[in-house]
């Protein structure tokens, strides 16, 4: 794999540590050398091991469980079943809505999906637990399951009115439009497939619970544990120093988490429970399968008159997940008439969940494929088509964009890709047996905002500590927070250490929706600014300060040294100054909440997502944008699609660290290639069971599948989106890759594939 790195100006590398510098990941060496200790790697005295037993039916009742053989197996400490597991209280949801049921049963008698946990074995060793789990006998009374969206019993589902977006008279305008296209687009069940599986170690000491668990949201998960076990929030400590990938799946405490914590409480021993790889496909939700129809009516010159969009996503029998399918449809193009509605359909699956850009990702597959179909219907270049219908403001919110560098993205991407050399006719480019296709698609992701808190400590040796309960799952939190503190305080970045992943640190909301960088750089900037003010205040006023007699109004700190702006008087390192005034440390806790915020509101802010700030709040609509240009090569006999080239131009506003942003974008693009060509949870339709739940059979792209990827940043600082001007990075780039590839496949072959993934049998 060759990956082009963007050329960067010398001035950038000279100021690596500053915000905007290309500092390498500060946690990189620890990860490469194995020094980074992940949650499950804690060595605890008396650790026991739990293994889950999953339902082998998709719907029905557990009629009996025979645990005798397992209970008497060597090393077994307990076999937990729905009959003997301790009672847990229901926990409120992530919006903070109170629980629908007073109690919560993580082991079930009523089975609603295959693989659902019905029992668990706890033993002294992992091997003993695995062996004994196989001895647990479960009898079922099986009832017919609804296996997927195309199941005859599935029906049309339940309308989700909150998803309805309408203006003008879309149906009438569509009927009258001179040019019309209407097509259905489907995406399958997909999985986050993080390398690090889900799981945890739970330990009780009296009424205090410590959980080591990979987490995208320590405070939110700690709240759930506290509610399940009716202990105060402060009694729960969640530790998650490194996270081996989450992609949306690790933000909430799940049934297996409850089982492990309950087992630890019941046995009064620490319990470790790690899901097997197949269990990672059934114990929490991946991306819901979706179906969309997109109808577009346009003038003969390509101007859109109406968009009518209908979407459906699968959800569970016992829980509702809405994958907002109209999210991109409603903002990408200007149209006087629009209608989008969505249903959810209950099927026998675990509740689907968030996977990188939930909503925007499948939404873009629909609209960005459809606009390409319209372009071909009219014989207009697909890039031109997008420019003809460029939305100058948010067509739905009817507000100005805070910033929208999408036109610039189209221009920069097209230029770097060589789009002008494309011949528009399908099947017009080939190289031997290979049909070549060039496709384009756009993507977008809203700027999700929230409030955050951070502690910044200036220590007596001049070093700096930053503390936050936010996490780093590879996206670079450790690094950009170090850069932010270093720049704000005027100290070298290697003097800053960042501590994350402990819920006893300063609080943070969810690391999801690409919001963390914007929120936390703001909080660290604020806390570091307060620490700096205090430092300078002390230097000016503290009697023992060497600067006190200078009678200056202010001082400045650079490279860890304090001096007056014009250089007269003393010039002292922070360390020497701290010694001079006899201080151990200066500590500041900063947050971005209004001063009037009550303690209850603060708690709610960090442990729910109810206080997120809408991206259309005030006068602006805030989003990141991107344009992808893709070349595919398809073997005309075999139908195999290979992505030969990707050029993406992206607007994430100001980049706090371009190196890390590019790596996130590339990660999104790679994941998008997998979605377009390979990924699909295969359901056995007789049993409602995923049969490819492992990494040999669930296809993810390998290095050999990934071509040259060139990313180009076209963003400008967006003051309406975050304190330092950045917009979201992590989810943006996966949005639009699949349609760009599908559009390229059409260009290569003349065949429109509207069902992902585009596997070879769809092209032969």
């Amino acid at each position: 794999m060759t990956v082009h790195d963007m050329k960067h100006a010398a001035s950038d590398s000279a100021r690596l540590e500053a915000v905007g510098g290309r500092l390498s990941r500060v946690d990189g060496p620890a990860k490469i050398t194995g020094a980074a200790k992940y949650a499950f790697e804690q060595q605890l005295d008396g650790l026991t091991h739990a293994v889950l037993v999953g339902a082998t039916i998709a719907a029905g009742k557990v009629t009996a469980i025979d645990a005798r053989a397992a209970e008497t197996a060597p090393g077994v400490l307990a076999v937990l079943t729905p009959d003997n597991i301790m009672e847990l209280k229901g926990a409120s949801d992530w919006l903070g809505n109170p629980p629908s049921q007073p109690t919560y049963a993580p082991l079930v008698r009523e089975v609603t999906f295959s693989g659902q946990h019905v029992a668990a074995v706890v033993a002294e060793t992992f091997e003993q637990a695995v062996a004994a789990a196989a001895l647990v006998k479960v009898w079922y009374d099986e009832t017919p399951a609804i296996v997927d969206l195309s199941d005859g019993k599935a029906g049309d589902g339940i309308p989700i009115d909150a998803m309805t977006k309408e203006w003008g008279d879309a149906e009438a305008a569509f009927a009258e439009a001179p040019v019309r296209i209407c097509a259905a687009y489907n995406t399958p069940r997909e999985f986050q497939a993080a390398m690090e599986p889900h799981g945890l170690i739970a330990r009780w000491e009296g009424d205090e619970l410590t959980i080591w668990e990979p987490s995208q949201w320590l405070d939110g998960m700690a709240r759930t544990y506290a509610e399940w076990f009716s202990v105060p929030f402060e009694n729960v400590r969640l530790v998650s120093p490194y996270v081996g990938g989450g992609f949306g799946s690790k933000a909430v405490a799940l049934a297996h988490s409850a089982v492990a914590a309950a087992a630890a409480r019941m046995l009064d021993r620490p319990v470790k429970l790690v899901l097997t790889r197949p269990q990672n496909f059934t114990s929490y939700g991946g991306r819901a399968a979706t179906r969309q129809t997109v109808a577009i009516g346009a003038d003969r010159d390509g101007k859109i008159q109406s968009i009518v969009h209908r979407g459906v996503n699968e959800t569970a029998v016992d829980g509702t997940w809405v994958e907002p399918l109209g999210s991109v449809t409603s903002i990408m193009y200007a149209t006087p008439n629009f209608s989008s509605k969505q249903n959810v359909v209950r099927v026998n699956t675990v509740v689907p969940g968030a996977k990188r850009a939930p909503g925007e990702n499948p939404s873009a597959f629909g609209i960005e494929s459809a606009i390409d179909e319209l372009a071909y219907e009219l014989g207009i270049d697909p890039l031109e088509m997008r420019l003809i219908n460029y939305a100058e403001q948010d067509p739905h919110a009817k507000k100005a964009w805070s910033t929208r560098q999408l036109r610039e993205a189209f221009a920069a991407g097209a230029e770097a890709f060589g789009w002008a050399k494309r011949s528009n006719a399908p099947r017009s480019m080939r190289d031997g047996h290979q049909l070549i296709g060039w496709g384009v698609a756009a993507g977008t992701y809203p700027v999700r905002r929230a409030h955050g808190e951070a502690v910044v400590k200036l220590l007596s040796d001049g070093s700096v500590e930053v503390e936050s309960s936010s996490i780093d799952m590879g996206q670079g939190t450790y690094t950009i927070l170090a850069q932010t503190a270093a720049e704000t305080l005027g100290v070298p970045v290697e003097r800053v250490s960042v501590k994350l992943g402990d819920s006893h640190f300063a609080r943070a909301g969810v690391t999801g929706g690409s919001r963390l960088a914007g929120v936390m750089t703001g909080a660290v900037h604020k806390a570091a600014g307060q620490a700096l003010d205090e430092l300078i205040g002390l230097a000016l006023s503290e009697p023992r300060s060497p600067f006190q007699k200078l009678q200056a109004n202010t001082l400045q700190v650079r490279d860890g040294r304090i001096a007056s702006p014009r250089g007269e008087g003393p010039d002292l390192s922070i360390a020497d100054f701290m010694v001079a005034i006899g201080r151990d440390q200066i500590e500041a806790k900063g947050d971005t909440l209004p001063a009037s915020t009550t303690p209850e509101e603060r708690y709610k802010n960090y442990t729910t997502i109810a206080m997120s700030i809408p991206h259309t709040e005030g006068d602006y609509s805030r989003h990141s944008w991107c344009a992808h240009f893709v070349e595919v090569r398809i073997d005309e006999d075999f139908g195999t699609v290979r992505v030969a080239r990707v050029v993406s131009a992206l607007d994430s506003g100001r980049l706090y660290n371009p190196k890390l942003a590019e790596s996130q974008w590339k990660g999104g693009i790679i994941m998008g290639i997998g979605q377009a060509l390979l990924e699909e949870g295969v359901v056995d339709r007789r049993h409602g069971r995923i049969v490819n739940g492992n990494f040999a059979d669930y296809m993810l792209p390998t290095n050999a599948d990934i071509p040259d990827i060139q990313t180009i940043s076209v963003g400008i600082p967006d003051p309406h989106s975050s304190a330092l001007g950045g917009k979201g990075v992590g989810e943006l780039a996966i949005v639009g890759i699949a349609p760009a590839i599908a559009n390229a496949v059409f260009h290569a072959t003349g065949k429109r594939v509207r069902d992902l993934p585009i596997t070879l049998e769809k092209l032969i």
Binding site: T56, A73, P74, G75, S114, E127, Q128, A131, A134, H433, D635, D637, F638, G639, T640, R642, L677, L678, V682, V683, D684, R685, R686, H687, R689, V691, N692, A696, D697, M699, P701, T702, N703, A704, D705, P757, T759, L760, E761, I764
Partner: protein, 327 residues
């Protein structure tokens, strides 16, 4: 716990004796055995580690035959200079198999003994019915998710695909497997399921594969292995073909041709009908494509694997065309 005893064999003789014990299984690179033990398919009572037997990893190639020891690593065979020049299809089949890490561990003997990837076979907990695991228990795959299943050599008892690559090339070139006491054609070593899906290989208790022998030939020297799959690497074949070609002096008439298929049949599949149709003929693209279709005579699909019937002949044709071009 599922306990087993572990024996380390220092000689083939010791391995044979131990392998005769009931419930005994050999361990070479472990990449199949450990996988199958984890999913509950293999439950050996004795594991006989043969990986320390000396001399069993030799690779000996002369103009008229290659003898490859059972413990030779896939990666070593793939990279062997003489294998590459005298049996390019064998090298190509190996380097397109599995992943680099697996090829560094896995042995040629173990490779021949790998089991099907049928997901129902590999999940006894959820799918008790599987004739390959338990004679007469039924087949969970028929009527289920069958995109990867076989279309050739299937029976009502089992439609599982033989997943490997190397054996396809071996079958094309009439290779033999050396079981110590007896030698048999690799083609006969693999058994189509018929009514006895549980019998996959003609190997008896106490037998150990010591080597494979491939006769050299002009067709083997001009040979190739084409493997088609959705993912560029690290995936089993949707369809593959090992083809060897020897042309007359005119550069277009076929003197000898070998064709074998992978990914579409219940065992490595020699396509003799294609060979017969082309032998002695002057070839062009149309003739090749027409003859390649003959490989699918008798193919039976189960819905989702229907595409293999169209795909496999194209893979054969591509391989022949490629060899023809390099004339």
């Amino acid at each position: 716990m599922r306990d087993f005893s572990y024996l380390r064999a220092d000689s083939v003789e010791a391995a044979r004796n131990a392998a005769a014990l009931p419930g005994a299984m050999l361990l070479a690179g472990g990449t199949t055995l450990i996988d199958l033990a984890k999913c509950g398919v293999a439950e050996p009572s004795t594991v006989i580690d043969i990986s320390h037997i000396e001399g069993l990893d030799a690779i000996d190639v002369t103009a008229d035959r290659a003898v490859i020891g059972a413990l030779a690593r896939m990666s070593h065979v793939a990279d062997h200079t003489s294998v590459k020049s005298c049996f390019p299809a064998v090298s190509e089949a190996l380097w397109q198999a599995a992943s680099a890490q697996l090829r560094n561990m896995a042995t040629v003997g173990g490779n021949l003994m790998q089991r099907t990837r049928c997901p129902y076979f590999r999940d006894p907990q959820n799918f008790p019915a599987c004739n390959k695991r338990a004679h007469g228990s039924g087949c969970s795959a028929i009527g289920g998710a069958t995109r990867g299943h076989a279309v050739l050599g299937v029976s009502e008892a089992c439609i599982a695909t033989y997943p490997g690559d190397l054996a396809v090339a071996l079958v094309a070139f009439d290779a033999e497997v050396d079981l110590g006491g007896r030698k048999l054609k690799v083609e006969d070593f693999f058994l189509a399921p018929g009514a006895t899906a549980e019998q996959e290989h003609d190997i008896r208790p106490g037998e150990v594969i010591t080597a494979v022998e491939i006769p050299g030939s002009a067709a083997a020297r001009r040979s190739t292995y084409i493997k088609v799959r959705d993912r560029q690497s690290y995936e089993f074949a949707a369809a593959s073909a090992a083809v060897g070609l020897e042309l007359e002096g005119d550069g277009r008439t076929v003197r000898d041709i070998r064709v074998a298929l992978g990914g579409v049949a219940t065992k490595p599949w020699r396509a003799r009908a294609v060979e017969e149709a082309l032998k002695g003929k002057a070839i062009d693209e149309a003739t090749i494509r027409k003859a390649s279709e003959l490989a699918m005579e008798g193919a039976v699909d189960h819905g989702a694997n229907h595409y293999k019937i169209a795909l496999a002949p194209r893979v054969i044709a591509r391989a022949i065309l490629k060899l023809g071009e390099t004339a």
